[in-house]
């Protein structure tokens, strides 16, 4: 079954939080060595999907395979060993608040390799230079802006040159210049090292420019998938609404709620 050209296989995934069904049968194939983008409205479960792939959440049914390993059946140790081959950029950055920028980026190398200090220093400065923050190496995370924080987190995620990188919203909070730099960086990292990347992003233009393949999630399912070129000309109303950012259309902008006017007029009711 397992196709050698697929690095991550998501099969028939169901997941719910409480009563809320977040995924109702998601299938996804993430090809080895390519950049795959996952898009979808806010709250459609993109972050949740990345956490399922990383083995931090367990699905109700269905499975996720990474390089032939069933993530949710691994023993704790094996799961941690598998995670050494992955990098993840968290939506919130999630830097270690008690370590400086330098130490944050050095952390994966310190715990997983025996590299000499001089080598670690070189690699850290190289990664920080790539995200334009070499000069900020002695700052603590609390002293960084939101955009800087994510760039440091990005540097940390690629510190060990993992085989699979999961980027959760890498472009949020970046000015146009650093946005361009990050797009180039993600592309370069992918091409130079041949690693597999998954990008979750709302920035359609940037994401389309680097993605090899795109999945669009909506309503707990994969709504559409294809190459960026194919999706751009997709005539399905929902796909084109999303691709062209139109507010009105079949894809709901709102979290499920009762009718707006009756909600507003219903003053005496509880909130």
């Amino acid at each position: 079954m397992m196709n050698d050209s697929q690095f991550v296989e998501v099969e028939n995934l169901y997941f719910s939080r409480g009563d809320k069904e977040i995924f109702r049968g998601v299938d996804m194939h993430i090809p080895r060595g390519k950049i795959t983008a996952i898009m979808g409205p806010s709250g459609s479960g993109k972050t949740t999907l990345l956490k399922l792939i990383g083995g931090q959440l367990y699905p109700d049914t269905g499975r996720v395979q990474i390089d032939g390993l069933d993530v949710h059946r691994l023993k704790r140790r094996e799961l941690f060993r598998l995670r050494r081959r992955m990098g993840m950029l968290f939506q919130s950055g999630a830097l270690f608040s008690d370590l400086s920028v330098f130490e944050n980026v050095a952390f994966p190398m310190r715990v997983h390799t025996d590299l000499p200090e001089a080598m670690i220093r070189d690699v850290v400065l190289m990664k920080l230079e790539a995200v334009g923050l070499r000069g900020a190496r002695n700052l603590m995370p609390a002293e960084l802006s939101g955009g800087m924080l994510r760039r440091v987190a990005l540097a940390r995620a690629i510190a060990l040159d993992p085989e699979l990188i999961l980027y959760d919203e890498p472009f949020v909070g970046q000015d146009p210049i650093s946005m361009g730099v990050l797009v180039e960086l993600i592309k370069k990292v992918n091409q130079a090292l041949g690693l597999t990347a998954v990008i979750v992003s709302h920035d359609i233009k940037e994401t389309m420019s680097i993605a090899d393949y795109v999945y669009v999630l909506s309503d707990g399912k994969v709504m559409a998938h294809g190459t960026p070129a194919n999706l751009n000309v997709d005539r399905d109303a929902r796909v084109s609404q999303f691709m062209h950012g139109e507010p009105d259309g079949p894809v709901p902008f709102h979290y499920p709620a009762p009718d707006y006017y009756s909600d507003i007029l219903n003053e005496g009711a509880r909130p």
């Binding site: 704790r76 941690f80 050494r84 993840m88 968290f90 999630a94 952390f107």
Partner: protein, 260 residues
């Protein structure tokens, strides 16, 4: 109505057992830290934050409690003309009861709450998740050193508490109220048994250390990752560990000193 009550009672019982089960699995997984020099360094760092930083409050409290014991003991004993036994009274109360219990209560308030809040904040800001994704088990790297540091510090703090307390009793009894210095020490030496009193007191301290630190790190690790969740868990740490310490103290005292 009644059916509903029974159902909710059943549910809360199940929930309690479930979280006890989780806490036990958690303790097993977190008891093994990172081996070698690195693990030792992590532990040493926590010894500083947990043990050394609690030293001041524990020693000062020990001094005051010893002084109060000296004063109270003297006023009672002097009525029977038995003020020479002050040393015995102060040292036995401290070694058997007051040092382990009061040090554990102070420790829960000073170090336990800080542990819960710290681990909880790391969880709320996804630092624990990102550590997992880097391939490092936070149970071994974050929780285990803290667990062991707490387990080792509290007994040491308890010893410090006793020593300072006995000295406080001496200050008040001998220096201030005029109890004979020789009889203060010799009565103490004659009546304190190393195994029964010092040993049992330390055993209590070890049990309290395990329970308080376990509660603190588990509450931090298991909390709902919001600011409200952190504040609740911190409160729970102090309440649960204080109750656990006092309850266990009764049980242990019955077992240790019951038939004396």
């Amino acid at each position: 109505m009644i059916k509903q009550r029974i159902a909710s009672l059943g549910k809360s019982t199940l929930d309690t057992f479930e979280s006890l089960g989780r806490a036990t699995i958690f303790l097993c997984q977190a008891s093994i830290g990172i081996p070698g020099k690195e693990g030792f360094h992590l532990w040493l760092r926590q010894m500083h934050f947990i043990g050394v930083m609690s030293l001041a409050i524990v020693l000062v409290s020990g001094l005051f409690i010893g002084m109060v014991l000296g004063l109270q003991g003297y006023t009672i004993l002097v009525d029977f003309g038995a003020e020479d036994a002050l040393g015995q009274m102060v040292s036995l109360s401290l070694l058997r009861e007051l040092a382990p219990v009061v040090a554990a209560l102070l420790f829960a308030g000073r170090a336990g709450s800080a542990l819960t809040a710290e681990i909880g904040l790391m969880k709320a800001t996804e630092q624990l998740s990102s550590m997992e994704m880097i391939g490092v088990d936070p149970l071994r790297r974050v929780v285990a050193p803290r667990l062991w540091a707490g387990f080792v510090s509290l007994p040491l703090l308890t010893i410090g508490f006793s020593v300072v307390g006995i000295w406080g009793g001496y200050l008040v009894g001998v220096d201030w109220l005029g109890v004979n210095e020789g009889s203060y020490w010799s009565n103490m030496q004659a009546s304190v048994s190393f195994i029964d009193d010092v040993g049992n007191g330390l055993l209590k301290a070890l049990v309290f250390a395990l329970v308080v630190t376990w509660i603190a790190v588990f509450q931090g690790y298991d909390l709902v990752p919001t600011s409200e969740g952190i504040s609740r868990a911190t409160t729970r740490t102090v309440v649960y560990s204080s109750l656990a310490v006092l309850g266990l103290d009764f049980v242990l005292t019955t077992l240790m000193f019951g038939e004396l």
